[in-house]
Amino acid sequence: MGGNLKNSSKGHYCPTMERISDNELLNLFRNTEKQEYYFRLIIEKYQEKLYWLIRRMVLVHEDADDVLQNTFIKIWKGLPAFRESSGLYTWMYRIATNEAITFLKARQKEKRQMADDPENHIKDSLKSDPFFNGDEVYERLLIAIQQLPAKQKTVFRMRYFDELSYDDISKMLKTSVGALKASYHHAVKKIQLSFNDSD
């Protein structure tokens, strides 16, 4: 293990991320007393991927930050029981997605505006977020995505933003590649239609 260690820019030792596999990380996490240390490495490795996944779902930075923290809490609690029937990232991806969905459902209950006028709700949320600097077209794209049915929304985000292959999405969502292609196709058509309608 020592050969994998190098001095990081923050002054502490950490394994080289490119070299250490998820399986190694999991084994180290489970078989040493330094669980916190190895969990930090998992956070460092996946925080950005999970953050952007969540951010594109909840849109506002503060909310994404909350959901990301809740996601890592669930991962921390669940890791000892993680059975590795799927890859580590696939499992974390599911947890992050579920956390974001749970957050959005709770928010929907709190704010009736979201259900009554989703377009203005999204616009207001983006305006109030100092860390959103997209133009009007980007805003319209996000609104169009938010209004897709749940399954199409998920598949579209995974393909368009995360650039995942249909094979990977198929494994993650346990849906056939054909059904995924159909979902993506419908999503694109609806987004195009929404742009045409607003012209």
Binding site: E36, W52, N98, F131, D199
Partner: protein, 146 residues
């Protein structure tokens, strides 16, 4: 307007629009670890207490033998079933789904797999889960994600 075509084709467009506070990803791991410490204190090694006496070793040894014996006896008479293990996993799944498990959707998935439910009440779903743990777990995953 053809802009939507450009947006859906343009790989750079998808990365614009959102930003994060400066240093956010540098600070996040430390903040996260701090929160984990508050949420669930990790096991800590107990320091030897000042009132420790050698006879305590004997007493604790005998106590340990009694406890191990009792546990062994319990294991013999009450071996944890596969069902109990599955229930643990199920509880975890439900917990991490934020208690948003959709029973109607789960029932729909069960039927989709060709298993006929005469009435989709909780007892029947519960029986299915007990009798088909692996299959049920997959279905639960699916019903959670949507």
């Amino acid at each position: 307007m053809n802009k939507q075509h450009d947006i859906l084709e343009d790989k750079h467009f998808r990365d614009t629009g959102f930003s994060v506070p400066e240093g956010y990803f540098d600070d996040f791991p430390e903040r996260m670890i701090e929160r984990i410490r508050l949420e669930q204190p990790l096991r800590v090694k107990h320091k030897q207490l000042g009132f420790y006496r050698p006879w305590m070793t004997w007493v604790s040894g005998v106590a340990a033998i009694l406890v191990i014996g009792w546990i062994g006896f319990r294991v013999l008479i009450q071996r944890p079933s596969e069902e109990a293990l599955f229930q643990d996993r199920l509880e975890f799944l439900v917990e991490y789904s934020g208690n948003e498990l959709n029973e109607a959707l789960l029932a729909g998935y069960i039927e989709e797999k060709g298993i006929v439910l005469t009435n989709q009440d909780n007892t029947e779903i519960d029986n299915f889960i007990r009798n088909n743990p692996d299959q049920a777990e997959e279905l639960i995953y699916e019903s959670i994600i949507y």
